[in-house]
């Protein structure tokens, strides 16, 4: 019930159509059902007086009825289309803006591909089911009811046969769906898993081929596909009972009507019932059957859409884990950052803290280097500064004020992060840079790019700053992408700048130039630099060494080199030139042999 409530909120401006469509459908059905009844009268009248005028008169009225039914039907169709297409548009809009309101932890919860499926396939399923509901799900029951009522007006004794048959059918259908529903729920999981394994194979085709596992994979997939087939077949075989069941019911009814009806006609001498009425009764019988048929089809569609609805509602009712405070602070006074006994875990259920007991005091304008292995929570630490996540315990202060007291947008405008997994969007370089500042002048763009050491290569492109970046930034190299991302972040003119492993693909010389520009041109900006290379953080005011979610050491390069084992390890592993001279000497002999063999030199 809640799911329906959540979804129908998205109807908005299409409420009118949503109501009109079924109303018009009902009118259409009523007229349509009146037609067979009217035909009886018409036939009787024509039989009595088969003059052409009489036929034309009665025929004319029938044509008029057809025209009215057509009008209602077409209008209903138009409104139903508008309502369902509009509903699905609004659903997509709402899902999209719900996602826009997500915090990082909300985003982490849903995978990107599942969100895309929800916005496309699931919404289309809902749209189709919705259109079915406002058209056919209204049409069929009304048709059923009207047909039964009409039968009663013709001859109530015979009409009782219909009444007897409908509950039997209802129970039959109910039992079928009750049996099938759990089967299909399971099947769709298997189906998803099958598609997942296909996807793995497409992505990993090089692995499959290099391990010569084609036959193995075919064998495995054959089994999976067979499993999916067997489950689907089991469900569909049960659903297949639908039609014979309905045919059994209706045809039994028709046979009984034929026998009993004929008897009635003859015995009453045509007074209680005549041949024409009998024919209408049978027509109503057929109508009942087609109504029931479509109804069972609609039920299948609705059951498919149910799981889609749940998935969409899940996104729509997901509450952002971060909200703005009531009287937010809009101005960040300075670039100082403090962590007071901060601990953090990604979800309440997580056993392990990603950060434990972090205390930190960084003054405005300082440069902070952060080193640590994978999984040491370097990114987690800096993500707390622009409040991408909320600290689980303790507090994070920016400019002396708790980050929870800031207006989120103001805070993030003044604390600029270059994320580790960064993306450029399809569009020109200019458009991408202006994400940082929509009003930036061309000069400002160039200035930011110069600082990020991107100006040179951008100018070397034939289209310069108007160069179109392909989806995923595939037409620029990794290092170029990183520098554009840095420039984009600089355009915010932040008080705090965070680079999360953002120069890993940039060569050391350029890396040094970027840091030099930061030092000379942005002295007041507090800089956090996460890096793999010691060289990138060597000249920082303070270097933090992280391990297992804790800051295990802090100090300057010299201090750490003298005292910290991890720092020494990293430093020497990266500056092995002198340290491992011995290994190189050993290898030298072989490479000589190699050149002796005459590998062509160019």
């Amino acid at each position: 019930m809640n799911v329906i409530k959540t979804l129908t909120k998205s109807l908005r401006e299409f409420r009118k159509e949503t109501v009109l469509a079924p109303v018009l459908v009902s009118l259409e059905v009523v007229v349509e059902c009146l037609i067979p009844l009217y035909m009886v009268t018409m036939l009787e009248n024509i039989e009595a007086d088969n003059s052409i005028e009489n036929i034309l008169f009665w025929g004319g009225i029938l044509l008029l009825m057809a025209a009215v039914s057509l009008m209602f039907g077409m209008l209903a169709g138009r409104y139903a289309a508008k309502a369902s297409a509009g509903f699905s548009r609004n659903l997509r809009t709402d899902i999209y803006s719900a996602i826009q309101g997500f915090s990082f932890s909300n985003i982490d919860k849903f995978s990107a591909s599942s969100l895309v499926t929800r916005m496309t396939t699931d919404v289309i399923n809902i749209q189709n089911a919705f259109m079915m509901i406002i058209r056919i799900a209204v049409r069929s029951p009304i048709m059923l009811v009207v047909s039964v009522i009409m039968s009663f007006t013709i001859n109530w004794k015979i009409a009782l046969i219909f009444l007897a048959i409908i509950p039997v059918l209802g129970v039959g259908l109910f039992v079928i769906f009750k049996k099938v529903d759990p089967i299909f729920t399971k099947v769709f999981k298997k189906y998803d898993a099958m598609n997942e394994s296909i996807q793995e194979n497409i992505k990993g085709i090089r692995v499959v081929k290099s391990y010569v596992r084609e036959d193995y994979e075919m064998d495995k997939f054959g089994k999976t596909a067979q499993d999916v087939r067997a489950s689907f077949q089991r469900g569909e075989m049960i659903i297949a009972l639908n039609s014979p069941l309905m045919q059994f019911a209706i045809w039994t009814a028709i046979t009984v009507i034929c026998i009993y009806g004929s008897q009635l006609v003859v015995q009453s001498g045509g007074a209680d019932l005549n041949a024409e009425s009998l024919s209408s009764l049978i027509a109503y019988g057929a109508q009942c059957m087609s109504a029931l048929m479509t109804l069972s089809m609609v039920m299948v569609m609705i059951s498919i859409a149910t799981s889609s609805s749940e998935r969409v509602a899940e996104v729509l009712s997901e509450k952002s884990t971060l909200t703005n405070p009531e009287n937010p602070v809009h101005e960040v006074p300075n670039g100082s950052v403090q962590f007071k006994k901060v601990s953090f875990k990604y979800s309440e259920k997580a056993e392990r803290y990603a950060l434990s007991d972090v205390d930190l005091d960084i003054k405005s304008g300082q440069t902070v280097g952060i080193l640590g292995g994978t999984g040491s929570s370097k990114s987690t630490l800096v993500n707390l500064i622009p409040r991408l996540y909320d600290a689980t315990e303790g507090e994070v202060l920016v400019g002396g004020i708790n980050v929870r007291d800031y207006d989120l947008e103001s805070l993030r405008d003044q604390v600029s992060v270059v994320l580790q997994k960064n993306v450029l969007f399809s569009g020109t370089i200019k458009e991408n840079l202006r994400w940082g500042d929509p009003d930036a002048t061309d000069e400002e763009l160039v200035e930011a790019c110069k600082r990020a050491q991107a100006h040179e290569f951008v100018s070397s492109f034939p289209d310069g700053y108007d160069t179109y970046i392909e989806q995923g930034g595939t037409n620029v190299s990794g290092g170029q992408k990183q520098r554009l991302c840095i420039a984009r972040a600089l355009l915010k003119k932040p008080k705090i700048l965070i680079l999360d492993d953002s120069t890993s693909a940039v060569d050391t010389k350029t890396d040094a130039l970027i840091r030099q520009a930061f030092r000379e041109e942005l002295p007041d900006v507090t800089k956090f630099i996460i890096a793999q290379r010691v060289a990138s953080v060597e000249d920082a005011d303070v270097i933090l060494i992280m391990d297992g979610g804790r800051i295990v050491a802090k100090g300057t390069h010299e201090e750490l080199l003298a005292s910290n084992r991890i720092y020494q390890e990293v430093y020497y592993s990266q500056n092995r030139m002198g340290a491992s001279k011995q290994d190189l000497d050993d290898a030298g002999g072989d490479s000589k042999a190699f050149s002796d063999e005459g590998g062509a030199q160019e």
């Binding site: 749209q127 290099s210 039609s243 024919s279 990794g478 990293v570 290898a587 490479s591």
Partner: protein, 647 residues
Amino acid sequence: MRKRIEIQKGSAGKILGRLFRYMSHYYKWELLVVIICIAVTAVAGISSSVFLKILVDDVITPGLDYGKIYGAAAGFDQVSGTLYTIAGIMAGIYAAGILCSFIYTRLMALITQGFLKHVRVDMFDKMQTLPVRYFDTHTHGDIMSYYTNDVDALRQLISQSVPQGLFSLVSVITLLVYMLISSVYLTLVVLAGVAVMAVVTKTVGSKSAKYFVRQQNSMGRAEGFVEEMINGQKVIKVFCHEKASERDFAKVNDELFHDADKANGYGNILMPAIMNLGHVVFVAVAIVGGALVLCNVHNLTITGLEASVITMGAIVSFLNMSRQFTLNIGQVSMQINAVVMAIAGAGRIFEFLDNEPEVDDGYVELVNANIDEQGNITESAERTGKWAWRHPHRAEGTVTYTELKGDIRLIDVDFGYVPEKMVLHDVTLYAKPGQKIAFVGATGAGKTTITNLINRFYDIEDGKIRYDGININKIKKADLRRSLGIVLQDTNLFTGTIMDNIRYGKLDATDEECIAAAKLAGAHDFITRLPEGYATMLTGDGSNLSQGQKQLLSIARVAVADPPVLILDEATSSIDTRTEYLVQRGMDALMEGRTVFVIAHRLSTIQNSDAIMVLDHGRIIERGSHEELIEKKGQYYQLYTGAFELE
């Protein structure tokens, strides 16, 4: 991604024909039974109108006439025998109809799901044989949509449109015969109505189909947009770009709304239009019928001109038949969109199945071998731990054996992925058994391309590649690849346990062997720290592991395969330098005694190589050991000191 729907003129018939042959290949008899059963059921459905006519003519009218003279009760007694006989026949026909309906609906469930399974398996099997080039030139989403969207369109066609169409076809033909038996004139009236319906269906239907295609295409665009944006959602948050991205999405979304509205709008008009045209036909039949009676026109049936005027009972039952006739035509017209979609889908599936598989003309095989002290090699049926190339010489009819050592030479190799753009020029290099050769160079310099050529993911344009002295074109691809271990930057693990994933390298490896491989790769530590250790299930390409952990696993996977030659393409790029330093010992042990090709942009990884090849624009511009290259103060030196940028 959804793809554009296009059906070339004239290809629809061909596609449907092939689809039919494809289906009847697997389900010839079942289909035959289905067709017969549908026919029986359809005929049974129609018989109610016929029975009504018979009842009116043989029971009601004579009964009433008799009743008028001898009293109603006597009238009924007179005809009751006939009535019960007719009712008996009716019940019999209906029973047959229900039985057939039971059979064909169940059979259709079997055929639909069975056929879809065959299609999926055929597609998957085909996919496994396609060359790597195919996967490099098609997006994963495109390939995936064959399995999802296109197969789904087929399902719609087979499970709904085909039985519905057959049912309607049989009904329409049977009704036509009945109608012709009743009255040719009235039948002509109905047929005229059908012609009008056909025109309406074509006009409205083609409009609907047009917008339907547009809707699919704008759906594809919306999907593309959403995909890009959601993948960059964190960046959107960091830049407070939410409002702007909502505005952009509104544009795409509105377009989709417009097309969906139009497509469904036209689609929804079709059914009421056909239904009510049916009513018009009904009236026309009544008028013409009345006129026939009125003007005393002798009834014409296909059996010939009758002496009498058409009876009222005949007109009544004819009216019923005309109603059923138009209803059936309405049902068929509703399937148009599904059929258009299915033909487009089937067309694409056939296109996929028609792709040329990877060719393999190799005839040199890898066999287990025994090697005696003199170096004589004999083939062995059991695993000996020694391998040899079995080289049959067709001309002489002899077989020679060469020991598998891992000696790889590239001689003057030229290659381009497309003929217009060469990627490698005159590449010559020798890797002797046990040597470690490193490739260094910018993205696009051709490092990965060289490895692609060695395992024959692509075939060289010009030049030669020799493996233990044998031209690799002569070696069976499967055997060639089995002798080469490869670890890529994209790890590509499979759904299954960690143990399963390591065992992928050698399917009959024992748990102990897998664990030993994990230890060698430095993966054992983190695996044992997982709550379920080696039994941990990996899902969604190992999304529950970090990239570095996944790389360690794929190194363990290659370690268990134990190949004489290793290709490491950025295999440790996501392992941080400190961990790399720690697993270096394992890596060194792994590389011991093997020929190794290494690509890494982290130069510390490759310093101890026997030879380093510096590649630039597809040419080897420098080569030598780390030391030699540093001394040379060339490109490598500049890279090393950071004057140049990699990747």
